[in-house]
């Protein structure tokens, strides 16, 4: 792991005692942790541990039955996804939530929606403010396309792209939102070694160049140990451990959970 000097700030997001149930199933039990500014935080744990549910809560898709989320100093009990978006939280999904009917370019441009304001009348004429805005945002989007090296597939409908490229386009769309907090749900699932290296590089670059705080769910321990500053371990909806990668690696509870010691 390369040591990079970066100023990890105060916490930008704090979740306290989040409890989430579906019917009788408790997906999250009193989870508390924090995400600090400019860091890369990995959330790990066996399948079904509640990792995606946790992201869904932060993002506003699920509303917890108990607990609070404090984001940038503001306390709230639940968020709506588009509020989260407005506040600078962007997200990618395990199953790739792209707009399959649109091209790569359009998908990424849609990430700029919140920043486009030209009113309806100008849109009808596609002139003046509407056109200038469209071009200005296109410029920004092209920068992201260059950054993620997806120029060749600009016009391809994303439904036709292979899985690995779809994930990259989804990342591009999230970046187009210029988020302060980026939530990545298994960004490397289904990728081979080279693709994972590329993606890791992109994630680190995003974090270093733009200062974006990143929380990612990941199963590949090599990647987790390499790129994350801190790690949170979940199991059966509970938080097992929370600390630097080395600390977590040595934690007995974590080892038990992964290696499978019978629960009492």
């Amino acid at each position: 792991m390369t040591e990079h000097r970066k100023r990890i700030g105060d916490n930008v997001l704090k979740v306290e005692n989040i409890t989430l149930s579906f019917g009788g199933v408790e997906a999250l039990k009193e989870i508390s942790f924090e995400i600090r500014e400019h860091e890369i935080l990995a959330i790990i744990g066996p399948n079904g541990a509640g990792k995606t549910s946790m992201l869904n809560v932060i993002n506003g898709f699920y509303h917890p039955q108990a607990g609070t989320i404090t984001y940038r100093g503001e306390v709230r009990s639940a968020m709506r996804p588009h509020h989260a978006a407005k506040q600078g939280i962007a997200r990618t999904f395990q199953n790739v939530a792209l707009f399959k009917g649109m091209s790569t370019l359009d998908n990424i441009m849609s990430g700029r929606s919140l920043r486009m304001h030209a009113n309806f009348l100008w849109q009808m004429l596609y002139y003046g403010p509407a056109r200038r805005e469209e071009t200005a945002h296109r410029r920004r989007v092209e920068e992201i396309i260059d950054f993620l090296e997806i120029q060749a597939i600009r016009r391809t409908p994303v439904g036709r792209l292979p899985y690995g490229l779809q994930k990259r386009v989804e990342l591009a769309r999230a970046l187009a939102m210029e988020p302060q907090l980026l939530l990545l749900d298994e960004p490397m699932a289904g990728m081979n070694v080279e693709e994972k290296e590329d993606m890791s590089r992109f994630i680190i670059d995003v974090n270093e160049q733009f200062g974006t705080t990143i929380a990612l769910i990941e199963h590949d321990m090599g990647v987790v140990m390499d790129i994350s500053d801190r790690v949170v371990v979940l199991d059966y909806g509970r938080k097992l451990a929370d600390g630097t990668p080395d600390e977590v690696r040595a934690n007995q509870d974590v080892i038990d959970a992964y290696l499978g010691v019978p629960h009492e």
């Binding site: 869904n56 898709f61 199953n95 939530a97």
Partner: protein
Amino acid sequence: MLFFIEATISGLMTGVMYSLVALGFVLIFKASGIFNFAQGVLALFAGLTLVGLMEMFAVPGWLAIILTVGVMIALAWLIERLVLQHLVNQTPIILFMSTIGLAYVLEGVGDLLWGSDVKVLDIGLPQGASDLMLDRFNLYVEKLEVVAAITAAVLVTVLAVFFQKTRIGRALRAVADDHQAALSVGISLRTIWVIVWSVAGIVALVAGIMWGTKSGIQFSLSLIALKALPVLILGGFTSIPGAIVGGLIIGVGEKWAEIYVGSMVGGAIENWFAYVLALAFLLFRPQGLFGERIIERV
């Protein structure tokens, strides 16, 4: 008071008729995920074939019914071969549109084969008012509607058992859930579809017989398909008992609305009341009374 009871019974009976058509919908939807807009036209086509056989070829009633069942099975096979087979894995809206196309085809062909004038259907079902009810309770109840109710009850029971208990029933439910998964465990999609559409065709025949005896075989029969939609909304798209309950509610609701509200606004409320009722339902309980909750996962 008497009038109210008569009106309610009449509404219930109409409701049973709606349910018969809705049943066909539920079958096909349950087993193939397709919303078969052509169900009403299937009833019309079945009715036309039945009458056509009886009138043009002087076939006796019972034989005509058997032959028509054969025709409906052959039709199911054709539909699977020519249409469904080519649309595997398409989105629901495309499948829905194809059934609209199918409805047009069946309507046109039915008219070409048997002519489009109204036909009288008489296969010996009891008609006229029930003397028993009239004498005992002073209520006007049509014998035909009682027969329809009993038939519907029998059909529903048979179908419910079929779906829950038999091997084929299980396969049908698998197919409704996920075409590809069903294929991968060796269920022959095509056979299943032919079976389902045949059963739906037979149900359509029953519906056609009931409606046809009541008001003759005519084009408006296919419009019943549209009325079945609110029934499905109320009962849930995948529930067989739901189709019955939904039908009854719509039938009675329509009747009451027509009598009590219709007089105030000039009548003909039946044209749209069912839909508005369904709409109101949708806003509070999108999956209907008995349907399954649709959960969308991200």
